[in-house]
């Protein structure tokens, strides 16, 4: 599959949305997130590292439980410190988020980094008006009167494409449609002009036509605000649409990382191959799907060696039982040092070109 087919017929290969400055605004290194439970410790994120400059969009993909949401919640400092153990480093605009005091976190959240959640229906408070909720965000970081905050909220609602914002500001969330609610959610996240926006499956709860509008809106706003965007999704179509870079996560680990065209055009990790093979073809002869066998491992008891080995059909190609005993590093596997993969296969690119590519629809 070429990346043209993934992007759809009407999109051409884009340049990055804004002039990327190159300097990382978000820098995550060796992030570990653990939840101690009665049954043992859940290793939700195990040594995740990535960086993201302003103006770029990183898509984090993976199954439920792969650690994509958990790691992003950690970036915003949203985990309950009493039930979570977080180590490593998360730097946002030079500020270290891991270990911030409650008060520092309060000032950081919403102002430097903001989040759009999956289901706007449940993520907006049902008892407060849209305007009230946006104004609350603004006034949390600006010492202004209600009147000024209201003007700001109306302006923001207009920018996210809500018609008649002066009137709609006093509507309750249940009086909005799903797409409008997500627009309001985006307005609330962007009202303080954060330089980092985390979108956690923002289109999953919406129907397809509205999805496209919301994706466009996020892209447009990113260009206007020049922010860095982390886009969490399990939809590879969305990835191709919005991302500059892709990070594929499996069982709390990053297994593949690189520019979107390359990762989706010629992936180097058997898990990413599996994801591509699980996509149904929208045209041509209907063909059976090739789902990845098995199911994601329990994070209470992550498999030894490469966590993907129990589901990997290529583990026999690696000698010396290395897949079951040695955890591979996330390293460049080809001449291109911008692409990283965590796999023991000797020549993954060759395997992909010869064995996987012909199987893809």
């Amino acid at each position: 599959m070429s990346d043209q087919t993934l992007r759809g017929p009407d999109t051409v290969v884009r340049t990055p949305r804004a002039a990327a400055t190159g300097e990382a605004y978000l820098e995550v290194s060796d992030l570990r997130v653990q939840f101690p439970t009665a049954d043992g410790t859940v290793d939700a994120v195990q040594g995740l590292s990535y960086s993201l400059p302003l103006g770029r969009t990183l898509a984090i993909v993976g199954e439920s439980g792969s650690g994509k949401s958990v790691s992003s919640m950690a970036v915003l400092g949203l985990h309950d410190p009493r039930g979570t153990r977080i180590t490593g480093s998360i730097k946002v605009g030079g500020k270290q988020v891991v270990g911030m005091s409650a008060d520092e976190l309060r000032r950081y959240r919403g102002a430097d980094a903001a989040m759009i959640f999956q289901d706007p229906q449940s993520s907006l408070h049902p008892y407060f008006t849209i305007g009230d909720q946006i104004m609350e965000s603004y006034r949390a970081h600006h010492k202004v009167s209600k009147r000024v905050a209201k003007a700001q909220a109306i302006d923001m609602l207009g920018r996210v494409g809500i018609p008649n914002p002066q009137r709609r500001i006093s509507s309750y969330p249940h009086e909005f449609s799903g797409g409008m609610r997500q627009r309001a959610m985006i307005a609330m996240a962007l009202v303080n002009d954060p330089k980092l926006l985390i979108a956690d499956e923002p289109t999953t709860a919406l129907d397809v036509t509205v999805q496209a509008q919301i994706l466009d809106l996020i892209g447009d706003l990113q260009r206007d605000f020049g922010s860095a965007v982390v886009f969490i999704t399990h939809d590879l179509g969305v990835v191709a649409e919005v991302a500059d870079d892709v990070l594929v996560m499996y069982a709390g680990n990053a297994v593949e990382h690189g520019p979107v065209g390359k990762v989706l055009g010629a992936p180097l990790h058997p898990y990413t191959w599996g994801l591509l093979e699980s996509l149904p073809a929208l045209s041509g002869e209907p063909a059976p799907l090739h789902p990845i066998p098995g199911s994601p491992p329990s994070l209470l008891d992550v498999p030894s060696g490469c966590p993907f080995h129990p589901r990997c059909e290529f583990r026999d190609r690696v000698g010396g039982e290395r897949c079951t005993t040695v955890h591979p590093d996330l390293v460049p596997r080809t001449a291109d040092t911008g692409r990283l993969s965590r796999c023991h296969l000797v020549d993954p690119d060759r395997v992909y070109q010869i064995e996987i590519l012909p199987r893809l629809p």
Binding site: L76, Y108, G110, A114, S123, H125, Y127, S137, Y172, M188
Partner: protein, 325 residues
């Protein structure tokens, strides 16, 4: 909204009328002889006839109940011991044991019960919701365990035992007696404080658990996570966003509890010697004072339908998604 309330009032009236007919049938038309029971062992035919006629038992059933309803609407006359007494509307009959119209007895007793119950409700709502919220915030912690543990212990002891223990041993509290609020507010409050604390703290134990459960659910909602992600203080997250949503189920229980208590806080009134609806009902029951008993039942049904309506209206204030109609 207005149309809705009107509809509800009409249906409330029909509920009260059905209660009236049913309890009237039960008390006056059952194949028992209330007059004979009242008359007791030292009874003679004259006395029995007099009681019969004062209760109206010598008339046909339809006329009896018609007379009762007429009394409620326009008032009626009663003959007791050969004297004709006029009973103004709304007349609920005449108590032959106390020699007073039932309406007057209820009017005397109701303020006492309302004072006890509302004062107690302030105490248990405040402490119950506060403790429940603190518990939910520190779920699994020492404070949570201590609060929930003591709540279960308090609710395991029968209420009247707690009330008797307070009445007997907590002597620092002012002596319990009823003074009307308007004549002397300070005396009114000091005479009721023991009852308020007893009713309030035992119910607070239950409300701690209700609020805790409701609050735990509310704090796990997505919108609380959103609130936290905005950068507002944790206190604001918990009290403005979490508690706001947690209150609705607590209000439902409160409405039902309040209605029940307003029909007579029997133990509290009896043990603290406060002459409220509960004591009146109990006395009427013991002395077979059927008109008073009827009055208490009717008052109870009115209180219940009114409280239900009030709870439904409060919902629309609490939750903008609820529309009446």
């Amino acid at each position: 909204m207005l149309l809705y309330i009107l509809k509800r009032v009409v249906s409330a009236i029909s509920v009260v009328v059905v209660t009236l007919v049913a309890s009237f049938a039960l008390f006056f038309l059952a194949p028992t002889d209330p007059a004979g029971t009242i008359c007791g062992t030292r009874c003679n035919a004259d006395r029995l006839a007099e009681i019969r006629s004062s209760l109206g038992l010598d008339e046909p059933p339809i006329e009896q109940i018609g007379g009762y309803m007429k009394g409620i609407l326009v008032g009626r006359d009663y003959t007791t011991s050969g004297v004709v007494q006029h009973c103004d509307a709304p007349c609920l009959g005449y108590s032959y044991t106390l020699g007073q119209p039932v309406t007057k007895l209820l009017a005397q007793a109701l303020p006492v019960t309302v004072s006890i119950v509302l004062g107690g409700a302030v105490v248990y709502l405040f402490f119950g919701v506060l403790f429940g919220t603190l518990s939910a915030q520190r779920r699994g912690g020492t404070l949570d365990r201590a609060l929930i543990g003591s709540s279960i212990v308090i609710n395991s002891i029968p209420y009247f035992v707690v009330a008797v223990l307070v009445a007997l041993y907590v002597t620092v509290l002012p002596h319990s007696e009823y003074h009307p609020l308007l004549s002397n507010p300070l005396l009114w409050a000091s005479g009721l404080v023991a009852a308020w604390l007893t009713l309030g703290l035992t119910n607070a134990a239950a409300y701690t658990r209700y609020s805790r459960a409701s609050m735990i659910e509310s704090l796990g909602q997505d919108f609380v996570r959103t609130a936290r992600s905005k950068g507002i203080s944790e206190r604001r997250v918990v009290y403005r966003h979490g508690l706001r949503a947690a209150l609705t189920p607590v209000v439902t229980i409160f409405g039902i509890d309040l209605a029940g208590q307003l029909t007579g806080a029997i133990f509290t009134e009896q043990i603290f010697g406060l002459p409220g609806i509960g004591v009146l009902t109990l006395r009427a029951f013991n002395q077979y004072d059927l008109p008073v008993l009827m009055g208490c039942v009717l008052l109870g049904s009115v209180v219940l339908v009114v409280m239900n309506l009030v709870v439904d209206i409060v919902y629309t204030v609490l939750d903008p998604r609820v529309r009446l109609g």
